[in-house]
Amino acid sequence: MAHKVSMTVNGVTRESEVEPRTLLVHHIREGLGLTGTHIGCDTSQCGACTIIMNGKAVKSCTVLAVQADGADIMTIEGLAKDGQLHPIQEGFWEEHGLQCGFCTPGMIMSAYDLLQRNASPSEAEIRHAIDGNLCRCTGYQHIVKSIQWAANKMASAPAGDD
C-alpha cells in the first residue's frame, strides 16, 4: 500500500507515493532521480549512502522513506550552492581526497556532520568521525587532509552556515 510522503530535498519540497518498504536511499536514487547518493553494502556498514537528514548524517539505506516524511534532507547534489563548491568539496579537490569517487558523496556528508560539531578537529577526531564510511581506494590519509583543509578554510571565512 502506497503512502504519501513529503520531504524537503536540497531545499525543494518533493511529494511522492512510496511503499512502506522503500528504503530512503532507493527513494532518493530511483524516485527522486538523485543518483549522487550511493549504495555500497547491504549491512549498513559502508556509509556510501550517507545524507544529511534534519541536520545530521544518516545512512539512508537504514531509514525507510516513510520515516523521512516531513524531513529536511540534503544530499551531495545540494551541497554546492550557485555553482560554488562547498569548502569540504574544495578540500577534497585540493588534497586529492578521492580516487574512484564512489565513497566520496557519503564521506563528504560525514565530514559535514563533523565540522558542524567540531570546527577544528584533530587527526584522531577526524578518523573517528569517518568510522562509518569505508573507502577502499585512498587509505584515508588524503581524506583526513581534505577535511583539515576544509576546517581551516571554514575557520578563516566563516560565511553562511552551509
Binding site: R21, A57, V58, K59, S110, A129, G132
Partner: protein
C-alpha cells in the same frame, strides 16, 4: 537490500502503539531501525507490520536529576549531548562507543535494550548501573530490572505486545566505566565490560556490579569478580585478583575471529581496565 513488503503504522501515543501490537501479532516496533532494518534488508526479518514509534514525542524525553530517565526512543546522539549523563559513565562511554556517527544519530538505547544483541554495548552498561526498564502493555505498566530483562540471544523479558517506554538509571553515586574490544569489521563488542563501584567514606567497595557483553550469549553479571572486589579498597592487587576470576562461571561464546577462550581472557583484561578506571 530489498525488504519484504509490510504494513506501516505511525501511532501518536503509546496506547495506540500497544493496541496496534495487540491487534497484529506479527507486528514489530520500529524505533531507530538500526538493528531491525539491517535484518529486514537481508530478509532475515520479515515482519508483517511495522509500528513506527518515531512520532511519539514522550518517548524521546530525557531527564537527569541524580538518576536519569531516558525515553526509549532517544537516540545515542541526543543522549550524548546531555552532560548530566556523564555521571553515569559506563552508559555514557558505552553509547559513545556504539557503531559510528551515523548509527548514533539514529539508533536508540531503548532499541538496543529491546533488541538484546549479544554483542551490543548498552545491555552491559544498563546491568552494571542497575537500570530499570519500564514497559507498557495491554495490562498496564510494569518495571523490569536490567538483571531480569536480558533473557537470551535477541530475547528480552518484553512481551510481543509491550512497548518499552523508558529506562531509569538510579542515583547511586556509583563510579563506573565501560571498556570495549571492538570487532574490526562490525564495530560491535567482541567483548565489553561495564563496572560500577559504590564505596564508603573509607574507600571500601560496598557494592560492585560488573557486567560483560560480547563474550557471552547475553549480557551477564560477573558475580565472581563482583564478590572478589566487594569489601576491598580496590587497590591494584585487589583489582588484579577480581579480574582474574571475571570469566568464572560465564557461558562463553566463540567464533573463528575470537574463540571462547580468548573472549574469556579479554573479559579479564577489560574487567581489570574498567575497574582500574572506576576505582581511580
Amino acid at each position: 537490500m530489498y525488504p519484504a513488503a509490510f504494513d506501516y503504522a505511525k501511532p501518536a501515543t503509546v496506547a495506540e502503539a500497544v493496541s496496534l501490537l495487540s491487534a497484529n501479532p506479527d507486528a514489530k516496533i520500529l524505533n531507530g531501525g538500526h538493528s531491525l532494518l539491517p535484518a529486514m534488508k537481508l530478509r532475515l526479518a520479515q515482519p508483517a507490520m511495522l509500528v513506527d514509534i518515531g512520532g511519539i514525542s514522550e518517548l524521546k524525553q530525557v531527564s537527569v536529576n541524580g538518576g536519569a530517565t531516558i525515553g526509549a526512543a532517544a537516540t545515542y546522539d541526543d543522549l550524548l549531548k546531555h552532560d548530566g549523563l556523564k555521571a553515569h559513565t559506563a552508559l555514557y562511554e558505552a553509547m559513545s562507543k556504539v557503531g559510528d556517527v551515523q548509527v548514533r544519530n539514529r539508533g536508540t538505547v531503548g532499541g538496543s535494550a529491546a533488541h538484546a544483541d549479544p554483542a551490543a554495548d548498552i545491555p552491559a552498561a544498563l546491568i552494571a548501573l542497575g537500570a530499570e526498564l519500564v514497559a507498557v502493555g495491554p495490562n498496564g505498566t510494569r518495571t523490569i530490572a536490567a538483571d531480569d530483562f536480558f533473557v537470551d540471544i535477541l530475547t528480552t523479558a518484553l512481551e510481543p505486545d509491550e512497548v518499552l517506554t523508558e529506562i531509569r538509571i538510579p542515583a547511586s553515586g556509583a563510579s563506573s566505566a565501560y571498556e570495549k574490544f571492538a570487532h574490526p569489521a562490525s564495530g560491535y563488542a567482541v567483548c565489553g565490560v561495564a563496572v560500577a563501584l559504590e564505596r564508603d567514606g573509607e574507600g571500601t567497595v560496598t557494592n560492585a556490579r560488573i557486567a560483560v557483553t560480547g563474550s557471552v550469549y547475553k549480557a551477564t553479571r560477573c558475580s565472581a569478580a563482583e564478590a572478589a572486589i566487594t569489601g576491598t579498597k580496590a587497590t591494584a592487587a585487589d583489582i588484579e585478583a577480581a579480574a582474574a576470576v571475571a570469566a568464572d562461571g560465564l557461558e562463553l561464546a566463540g567464533d573463528h575471529y575470537a574463540s571462547a577462550e580468548y573472549r574469556g581472557h579479554l573479559t579479564k583484561v577489560l574487567t581489570k581496565r574498567a575497574l582500574t578506571r572506576a576505582a581511580g
